[in-house]
Symmetry: C2
Subunit: 340 residues, 2 copies
Amino acid sequence: MKKNISMKDIAQRLGVSTALVSYVLNGQLEDRINKDTAQKIKNLADELGYRPNHVAKSLKINKTLTIGLILADISNPFSANLARIIEDEAKKHKYTVIFGSADESADKSEDLIRTFMSRRADGFIIAAPEGSEELLSSLKKQDIPFVLIDRYFPELQVNTVTINNFQASAEATNHLLEQGFSEIGMINLKADLFHLAERSRGYKAALTQAGQKDEGKNLKEVDEKNMIKEVHQAINELLNQPEPIQAIFFGNNNLAIEGLIHIRSLNIRIPEDLAIVCFDESNAYNLFYCPVTYIRQPLAKLGQAAVKLLIESIGNQERSTNNITLEAELIIQKSSQKYI
Amino acid sequence: MKKNISMKDIAQRLGVSTALVSYVLNGQLEDRINKDTAQKIKNLADELGYRPNHVAKSLKINKTLTIGLILADISNPFSANLARIIEDEAKKHKYTVIFGSADESADKSEDLIRTFMSRRADGFIIAAPEGSEELLSSLKKQDIPFVLIDRYFPELQVNTVTINNFQASAEATNHLLEQGFSEIGMINLKADLFHLAERSRGYKAALTQAGQKDEGKNLKEVDEKNMIKEVHQAINELLNQPEPIQAIFFGNNNLAIEGLIHIRSLNIRIPEDLAIVCFDESNAYNLFYCPVTYIRQPLAKLGQAAVKLLIESIGNQERSTNNITLEAELIIQKSSQKYI
DNA sequence: CTGAAAGCGCTTACAG
DNA sequence: CTGAAAGCGCTTACAG
């Protein structure tokens, strides 16, 4: 193993102090350092292939320029896309990101945060799983900078960057109503997560506003653990009830994909027999025979806002709290058009 | 800001040395430390909420337990899936991963490696872009542990974990030949990357072995930058030549998705009019009307082997070189069956 | 069984 | 314009 060369090595060879080397290599105090000395130091550093030791620097300055990113699952496209945005935005500010997948488990999430804390991440961006309120409160109490992304807990006063799930759902439902559909079903995930509940609430609010009475009757909430089976069952129920459904709104892309597979297997034509709207994009929609209407989340803005907010929060002493809400966009395609 | 509490704090409160605190909290020298003292130290650590400072430890032991992961693009499902496997495997060995997307650029890849080196990653797992041979040689010369994943450079003697692209392509082509198709086209990416060239080579070798003469005549290599347009064009050419094509083999999933979209728009039926095989999986296949035959890469094994190899390499003094080749699996579905 | 001490590679007041 | 020195929070021979 070749020894890594340090500032001290450079200083000794040149007969100067490490302080001077540090100032020069960091471009500090430039106006009051002898140009010649500075140049010599730079040259030797180049020549020896000096690489700063960020670990030592971190220890000294008590900052690592590291962001801990806690996602649901990096292999999920939503998480992966967000990760990419966050990576790019972090890099602009010289931050590096360490990531972990919490798999919707509060325990795993806590483990990850603990690990990243011992590695002295400067702050966290967290897609928080159900049941992590306590952990988040404790982080806040410890004055650890973090921002929640995607999910949030209305009772917690912490930094958040989320989309307006209520509004997006209402808009999607209104679009279907405007197309002339009145019997509109929704298939959503059964979970206590607020952002999912907001989607159901937006759907119901739109129906109520349109004068419908029993606005929850066509809402099916399925268990994630048994998702495929329950989606199929929910679709069957919606189709076979006294007043059969004219349109289905899926609460996320995974539900939509399973739903569309099932619908095709039933030989139900879209949009002739049934209209479809989905929350979230998926490149899978591209291979479906009918272009799919979906709600597009502003992922780039979400990720960028989260990084920006986090970095501000790291820099500030007083912990003010910021809640950023972004609007999603309804991309209207053929699957939701009234077939005449 | 609350001050982080350190081993020194614990030692002072208890009137012992930090050495002792270190031994106890790390479970070292257990047999020769007074049980009472040990217990007191542990209790106080708990009580004060002591969190080890991994940065200080890293500086001292000159190891960070960090893996630098260089991917093509974390937002791409192939990269993201790999990242998840690597995350899990790394965690088992107490490693944390920092990642970056190189976007197939040798320069970005170098930047990332430089950054991660100054952060003293113990080693790297790299999906290397075209043109990074020099960088990799230089890493090797500096004795920096790394393993290449997915891509590799046959002229470089370095650790690699790859699949047998030649064999997988040959198998896919043979499958089509066995189904009775003789006019088989392939659409692949035009690139110098060895793993892509191997896919073309496997395809051609299978045709040659089947007695075909001009085995390159139905191979179309498209430019990634102009991918969509060139895929459409390639398909048109293959369909409109004197002996029209009976089957198309796509060199990766992105090519396949664009190809399938185009094929559907031409009202060509699969598998009645045209058989299809694709390299790589995609959840998009799920929404295509015909189940798609594809080559499944053993992602889990790839990632696990890479981490294992890297960690061995970090631990070893002598830099032996290891090349692991895994076999892919052909998942045969309806899209490649001869329609009778 | 335990402590004093050196040192990992930096940064940064302070002094001159 | 530059250097001596302290210190970030650990680990680890060494000594007793």
